[in-house]
């Protein structure tokens, strides 16, 4: 029972692999099958252009995984670096950087990403850019808070007095000690980014037609909600089980490493 998040994640990875290995024709339009219920050819039915919902779900899984992993790795690196610099040097550097993060945190939730995506214009690259610009802040705060206390630990002071370069102190003496909460935070943020990608695509700011994304599928599905509920239900349940699995995985990691969540 405790292993089910892994099952969902393995399923997600297989879906992504499958959508690249086999040509599922997610963009194949079949007007005779518009909004058809689940059938032998399309296990979850067809969408408003007669395309197979399963095929489009698999293609959309690839997009959400690409966005989530890419944005997480970039922002984790940048955010940790910013936090380390602020925590290590302290003083005005710290005050300035924290003032900047305060401003970014003043925009609730996904609002700033929506604003950036709106002015940058739609498309995958701009979507990635908008999400990267907004999601480094959490890591920076988390790293900085820990780095402040690590800064005056004896082993850091010892390395410093031995003349170790700053980068080496940060990488070898501080980073290993503050990595665990960052990994937990990154796990939660993968779930957050899957939702964020879907939200922006839902608003028409992310992935553009004809490419499949769970967000744009939900947007189309809502339009035909009352005539073809199976469309929305298929996409919604996929999204929910994925997000739930990642969150539970994050909880398990947090409990295993005994971390109190910073937020």
């Amino acid at each position: 029972m405790k292993r089910w998040p892994y099952l969902v994640l393995i399923f997600w990875s297989c879906a992504v692999l499958l959508s690249h290995l086999i040509d599922l024709q997610p963009d194949h339009i079949n007007l005779e099958k518009v909004l058809a219920l689940p059938n032998t050819e399309a296990w979850l039915g067809n969408d408003d252009l007669g395309r197979s919902i399963v095929a489009r779900l698999l293609a959309g899984a690839g997009v959400s995984m690409l966005v989530a992993l890419l944005v997480t790795s970039i922002t984790l690196t940048v955010g940790t670096l910013v936090g380390l610099i602020a925590g290590y040097f302290g003083g005005w550097v710290d005050r300035l950087l924290m003032q900047v993060t305060d401003v970014f945190l003043a925009f609730p939730g996904i609002l700033l990403a929506i604003a950036f995506a709106a002015v940058l214009g739609p498309g995958l690259n701009n979507l990635l850019l908008a999400l990267c610009m907004t999601s480094w802040v959490g890591y920076a705060r988390l790293t900085r808070a820990q780095a402040l206390s690590l800064r005056h630990r004896q082993h850091v002071l010892a390395a410093e007095s031995l003349g170790a370069p700053v980068m080496r102190i940060m990488r070898r003496h501080m980073l290993p000690l503050l990595a665990a909460p960052l990994v937990v935070e990154a796990t939660y943020s993968i779930a957050g980014l899957v939702i964020a990608e879907a939200s922006l695509s839902f608003l028409g700011l992310g992935i553009q037609a004809p490419h499949a994304s769970w967000g744009s599928m939900l947007k189309d599905g809502v339009r035909y909600l009352l005539v073809a509920p199976h469309y929305v239900l298929a996409v919604g349940f996929s999204l929910m089980s994925l997000v739930l699995a990642i969150n539970v995985l994050g909880d398990q990691l947090r409990d295993a490493w005994d971390i109190k969540r910073a937020r």
Binding site: F107, A115, L120, V222, V232
Partner: protein, 303 residues
């Protein structure tokens, strides 16, 4: 308290600056993007002058600040209406939506959290945990349609979208409120569990006070502090969620105005909506902090 008030000033300044800079992030010429490629040169020059985009950046920012200080957000490019007026028309819809969602969240989250804490480890607790975990994994654009299906189509109880009926606020408010209720449930459970082991709860029980009174008057009051903080912080999340929820339900609030302005590339309106939502969030957080120090006797009497 003065210190906390002063700390808000640079944040507000930064928020205004970042919102101001948004238009300059537009790739290429923002005026061309807004008016379309085939627009006549004369129109472009006129709009450029109206938005002040022909001035140096610091001058533009100065003018922007000056206009804002007078409550002037500029005019919409499409409707030519003053943006302040559109905002004034839309804010009540969003405010009532937020209030009703908050009410729903408190009415569901608080009792559920209390029951979960009192029956910790038994089935009501597991049920509440499963419920709140799955609810927090449901983004608004999925929970909304699901509620529409359940209450609108299958049960036929509530109006599905629009604002025609006094009941039509219920579905969008539930969409926003249920997610918040999930967080509130977990917070109430954790906070109450911590307090239940305190000495003053044991003292109250030892004095022979009824169990219900012990929970409601002694334990819950002490547990309420972190809950209030979470509510304050989440109210901002509610505002961001309103952008999507209002779109799902065609609810004519500030969030819908924002999405419409993005679709029409009406950037002054986009800027104004983002600014209003962010500043409301900052103010709500400030008030939560101030309220927190009023509520907590340890902070109140420390000075």
């Amino acid at each position: 308290m003065i210190k906390r008030l002063l700390a808000v000033v640079p944040v507000v300044f930064g928020v205004v600056l970042l919102t101001f800079l948004l238009v300059h992030l537009v790739p290429g010429d923002p005026v061309e993007v807004m008016l379309g490629e085939s627009s006549p040169m004369a129109d472009r020059a006129k709009l450029r002058a109206e938005l002040g985009l022909d001035q140096p950046l610091p001058v533009q920012f100065g003018q922007y600040l000056k206009a804002l200080a007078q409550g002037d957000f500029g005019r919409s490019i499409h409707t030519r209406k003053p943006i302040a007026q559109s905002l004034k028309e839309r804010i009540p819809a969003t405010a009532s939506l937020a209030l009703v969602s908050l009410l729903i969240a408190v009415m569901i989250g608080l009792p559920l959290g209390i029951v979960a804490a009192l029956r910790a480890g038994r089935w009501p607790d597991s049920l509440a945990t499963i419920l709140s975990l799955s609810l927090s994994a449901m983004p608004h654009f999925w929970l909304g349609p699901l509620l529409m299906l359940m209450f609108g189509l299958w049960l036929g109880l509530l109006p599905v979208s629009g604002m025609g009926n006094s009941l039509s606020i219920l579905l969008p408010a539930m969409t926003l409120g249920l997610g918040l209720a999930a967080i509130l449930t977990r917070m109430t459970r954790a906070s109450l569990l911590e307090v239940l082991h305190e000495d003053f709860v044991r003292t109250a029980r030892a004095k022979g006070i009824e169990e219900q009174q012990v929970i409601l008057r002694h334990a819950l009051r002490a547990a309420l502090l972190p809950i209030v903080t979470v509510l304050g912080l989440q109210l901002g999340g509610l505002l961001a969620g309103a952008v999507i929820t209002e779109t799902v339900f065609s609810w004519e609030g500030v969030g819908r105005l924002l999405v419409e302005s993005i679709e029409k590339r009406d950037y002054p309106v986009t800027q104004a909506c983002v600014l209003v939502i962010a500043l409301t969030y900052v103010m709500v957080n400030l008030m939560t902090d101030l309220l927190y120090s009023r509520l907590d006797p340890r902070i109140r009497f420390a000075k």
